[in-house]
Amino acid sequence: MKRLVRAAIVGALTDALVDEGSWAGETHVQKGTFFLQCAAYVPLGYDFIMYKHGPFSFSLRDDLVSFRADGLITLRPQAPYGPRLAMTDQGRRLRDTFPKTITRYNEEIRRVARFLNSRGVGELERLGTALYLRDSHQEWTDKELLSEMRKLKPHVREQQAATALADVRSFLELDSSTAASRFSANSES
């Protein structure tokens, strides 16, 4: 996927997160992009590794710096917290250059934003880690996933980890059914 198309999609996600009440800091955009790519199957092509605060992509971080340098997104400091990311007018003009792409992925973008909504960084870390584990070990049982999550993130309590794994499973099950119906509709047309 081309860099400018990625910029349009990540920018649209940032706008959608704000609409859903998210703080939309870099961590929120990182986790939102991870869900978009890994759970909603939007082929952005970023590499994610398990890092501090869950899955993290350095190539996405590089892209965000590059999008800022190109005036497509900006940082809006909000004392005393970290800054929010926001799409600029120039970024929205770029997004409008790719109407078919945005239309194609809009439903996934909105669904991810609704799911993550106003959750804080700690909860995003748990959800992101749960998705990372479910995706990496699809054959594992819930018990095995829970054990691995506690090993990777010892500061996360067992109940918190179990809730995150369950929430992610619900998201994935819903996504697979909507994706199936969408693909079916596409093939009929």
């Binding site: 198309v5 082929p43 970023y46 590794i49 917290y81 250059t97 804080g120 500061h155």
Partner: protein
């Protein structure tokens, strides 16, 4: 006479760099000594004649600073209770000297994989999947270095040294919070000691004042802190990262400003970038199949010296396929700057340099034009800051300087010297640039259909921004 177990080297930046006898054995190893023959700033000395320093002294400086930063971050009185609860290694005092040794050796060895002339041609002359970080890993895991590390007391794991030396960005391995912090000491975006040393050292040797800042004060105020990104959950216990006490904020601002100016004035200097492009042209023609070998043995035998011999031979021989770029480097006859992006052009089209490059190639042919869009770097960096009362804030909430610092953005098009006047006059015609940018935007829109159909689940490597300092 008593046997000496600590040794000193004089250093122009840090006065003295000290090391143990075991560490000195690593310094004396063949892969580390090779760095005496790898220039830190490639062909920058053609612009800044003093910039002839080598990766070797930089590596010693990074080792020195890594030890200092580790000591400050792990000192008992500097660690907050909530951080201590999350990182058990901070409670095992007897293990800290071991971790300190690992971090210092990772810092010393972090550049072992550099090719001749460091970054200048790495992107274009290594096969897919290889980078200097990958080569660093291969060297560290070679039998030669395994022997060196196993002779240390306590012996060190080459795998761990490699993981920390490469850092999370390039290793593709998962990092636990302790490993992430140790690696961040070396490669961190805000206060990595690699960056601290290269800014200080490069500015000293280049003879520019931009890179100087009070690094001693900065390091003394480093702390492990939970980051602040939006309101906290009630039970949020975020994993810590490296931040600072408020007393170090001025030094942190100075570091990030230094980076901004050094990139603009030294690393992305247009003449230096032009010579990077000629070096790439030379290497693509001179190396077997246009690529460096990636086996450890050949890598360790290849330095700037061998390449300089090749450049001189090709420059003397007009029938040599690499004659033109070699002659340009030796005779200082580089391609001239045709176009540099301005903020107003960026507002019309997001990739103006690429658009001008495409136009110039159509007009003058691909051999006469070069485009370089180095990786964007810097800008505002968000890190936690402990304020006077002990509360933690985002750096961007407490510093107007940091919140308004733009990323470095360079987008340059070069042309053969004899064509510049003609190309320049065409570009300066009323409305020409606008016409070029509008055409590029229209082309992008047309290509959307193809992209939507052909979405690939990986980043297009040709579309990633390469180069950089």
């Amino acid at each position: 006479m008593a046997i000496k177990h600590h040794h000193e080297l004089r250093d122009p930046v840090h006065s003295f760099v000290t090391m143990t006898t075991y560490e000195r054995a690593v310094v004396n190893s063949r892969p580390v000594q090779r760095l005496r023959h790898i220039s830190q700033l490639a062909l920058s000395s053609l612009v800044y004649p003093g910039a002839t320093h080598r990766r070797f002294e930089h590596s010693l400086g990074v080792m020195h600073l890594a030890g200092e930063a580790f000591d400050v971050l792990t000192r008992r009185e500097n660690v907050r209770d909530e951080v201590r609860d999350l990182i058990p290694q901070l409670n095992a005092d007897e293990q800290l000297p071991y971790w300190r040794s690992v971090v210092r050796m990772a810092a010393l060895c972090h550049d072992l994989g550099h090719l001749p002339f460091s970054h200048a041609a790495e992107h274009e002359t290594l096969p897919d999947g290889y980078s200097h970080e990958k080569l660093t890993e291969l060297v560290l895991l070679s039998p030669e270095m395994r022997d060196v590390f196993s002779d240390m007391v306590p012996s060190l794991s080459p795998e761990l040294v490699a993981k920390l030396a490469i850092g999370a960005k390039k290793s593709h391995e998962n990092f636990d919070v302790w490993e992430a912090i140790l690696s961040e000491i070396i490669t961190g975006d805000a206060f990595g000691v690699d960056r601290i040393d290269y800014l200080l050292r490069d500015s000293l040797h280049a003879g520019v004042a931009y890179g100087r800042f009070d690094h001693s004060r900065l390091i003394q105020t480093l702390r492990l802190l939970s980051p602040v990104q939006g309101p906290r959950d009630e039970d949020d216990n975020s994993e810590p990262t490296i931040g600072i006490e408020i007393g170090g904020l001025g030094s942190a601002e100075a570091l990030l400003l230094a980076r901004y100016f050094m990139f603009g004035q030294v690393y992305f200097h247009h003449v230096r970038v032009a010579y990077d492009l000629h070096l790439i042209d030379f290497l693509k023609s001179w190396l077997p199949n246009g690529m460096y070998a990636t086996d450890v043995s050949t890598h360790l035998e290849t330095t700037d010296n061998e390449v300089w011999v090749g450049i001189r031979e090709a420059a003397r021989n007009s029938s040599h396929p690499a004659h033109d770029p070699a002659r340009r480097i030796l005779e200082r006859d580089h391609y001239k700057l045709l176009y540099a992006r301005s903020p107003s052009h960026r507002e019309i089209w997001s990739e103006p340099g690429r658009a001008v490059f495409g136009w110039a190639v159509d007009e003058y042919g691909p051999d006469a034009v070069r485009h370089q869009r180095p990786r964007k770097s810097g800008g505002s960096v968000d890190f936690p800051v402990v304020e006077m009362g002990g509360s933690i804030s985002s750096s961007l909430a407490v510093s107007d300087v940091l919140s308004n610092l733009p990323p470095n953005a360079s987008d340059l098009v070069f042309i053969r010297p004899d064509l510049r006047a003609d190309a320049d006059s065409k570009l300066k015609k009323d409305g020409k640039l606008r016409e070029i940018f509008d055409a590029a935007a229209a082309r992008e829109k047309l290509e959307e259909d193809v992209d939507v159909v052909n979405d690939m689940p990986t980043l297009d490597s040709n579309d990633m921004e390469g180069g950089g300092a």
